[in-house]
């Protein structure tokens, strides 16, 4: 995996009443959720709304005695579904998911480095665009440090399908990017 799982103290039996625990969870997961939603193509405002909505839903879920297991994948799933509702289809949006950002290349890079980085980024952009939606989502969630089981819970697909999808997606990237 591209990163270790977030060190969350789960389950969270007192989330519904303990403000410190709620704040910690919000601080831990807010940015990963915003990144993922931005990766899906949501605008900044939409992503903010979806994240706040997801945490409100979590509060209600736990206050109503809902399951306290797998909170991270629960939040990602709610956010993912809200994002789906926000956008009829990713293809109809003005901004494509994972738009490339060449400005992110360091301004201290030499012109040669800049050209090389830009070329790599262009190849990756083409490779990412060639991926199916599910392949792209699996890779984004994997990059956020989610386990295959958690990715399966978010996308509501079996873990074995996640393994196959990640495998296929990585091999496509290798092929298209000449790694």
């Amino acid at each position: 995996m591209s990163g270790d799982s977030l060190p969350l103290n789960l389950p969270l039996p007192r989330f519904a009443t303990d403000s410190c625990e709620a704040t910690d969870l919000y601080c831990e997961l807010r940015k990963p959720l915003l990144r993922y939603l931005a990766g899906l193509g949501l605008s900044a405002d939409e992503a903010q709304d979806v994240v706040q909505d997801a945490f409100l839903s979590l509060h209600k879920h736990l206050a109503a005695g809902g399951s306290q297991q797998n909170i991270r994948s629960w939040l990602f799933r709610v956010a993912h579904n809200r994002a789906r509702n926000c956008q009829q289809s990713y293809a109809q949006r003005k901004g494509e998911p994972l738009d490339p950002v060449f400005d992110a290349v360091s301004h201290e890079a030499t012109p040669e480095q800049f050209v090389l980085e830009k070329e790599k980024s262009l190849r990756m952009e083409a490779a990412v665009r060639s991926l199916a939606t599910q392949e792209r989502e699996c890779l984004m969630l994997r990059a956020e440090g989610l386990r295959y089981r958690e990715i399966g819970e978010v996308l509501e697909i079996p873990t074995s399908t996640v393994a196959d999808t990640v495998d296929r997606a990585i091999k496509k990237l290798v092929e298209k990017c000449n790694v």
């Binding site: 403000s19 931005a38 706040q52 509060h59 738009d99 890779l139 984004m140 990059a143």
Partner: protein
């Protein structure tokens, strides 16, 4: 050419059961070709992670500090301000000339007396609670009685999930003789 079809990427990700992972590891250790494959998969995964990070960092949403004020908070503040302004603009009790007020009127009358006097009644919609009467320091303050308290629900002040149980904020309003607001004080 190696024809090993084991799940190298799942093995890299630590997603295999112990026995299966051990079998893949044994093979990879002895196969240069599969080691190269693993290296290229890792490189592709790493490049994707960099690309994903750069693409999403450009989105203001992902760059916002965790200290950013929740978007609903200004609306809660506006709602609180509307309540306070509404209190100040409520129909005021009839103005009483100090000349016609008898000396005994300086002392606060009993609550039942206030309730029975329509001219001094405050609209029940806005008043949630009448503060206990305190000994007036002057005639003006005696006429400004009673103070009015407005309960503000804690969930209008705290983000969802961070609401301390059983806490509300109280706005103490003091009215002058002409019905205008003399002072506002917030307290938990």
């Amino acid at each position: 050419m190696c024809d090993f079809r084991g799940p190298l990427i799942a093995w890299m990700d630590g997603e295999l059961a112990e026995t299966e992972a051990a079998a893949v590891e044994r093979h990879v250790q002895g196969c240069t070709e599969c080691r190269d494959r693993v290296a290229s998969y890792e490189e592709a995964g790493s490049r994707f992670a960099t690309y994903y990070s750069q693409a999403t960092q450009a989105t203001p949403a992902a760059n916002l500090s965790s200290q950013t004020m929740p978007r609903w908070l200004p609306w809660a503040a506006v709602a609180a301000a509307v309540v306070l302004i509404a209190m100040a603009l409520l129909p005021r009790p009839a103005k009483q000339s100090p000349a016609v007020v008898p000396a005994v009127a300086v002392a606060p009358p009993p609550a039942t007396e206030i309730d029975s006097n329509p001219a001094r009644q405050v609209q029940p919609v806005a008043r949630r609670h009448i503060a206990p009467r305190r000994k007036p320091r002057s005639t003006e303050w005696a006429l400004a009685q009673p103070a009015i308290q407005i309960a503000i629900p804690a969930d209008a002040v705290f983000p969802p999930g961070a609401v301390p149980e059983g806490i509300s904020y109280i706005a103490n309003l003091s009215l002058a003789s002409d019905g205008s607001v003399q002072g506002v004080r917030l307290q938990p």
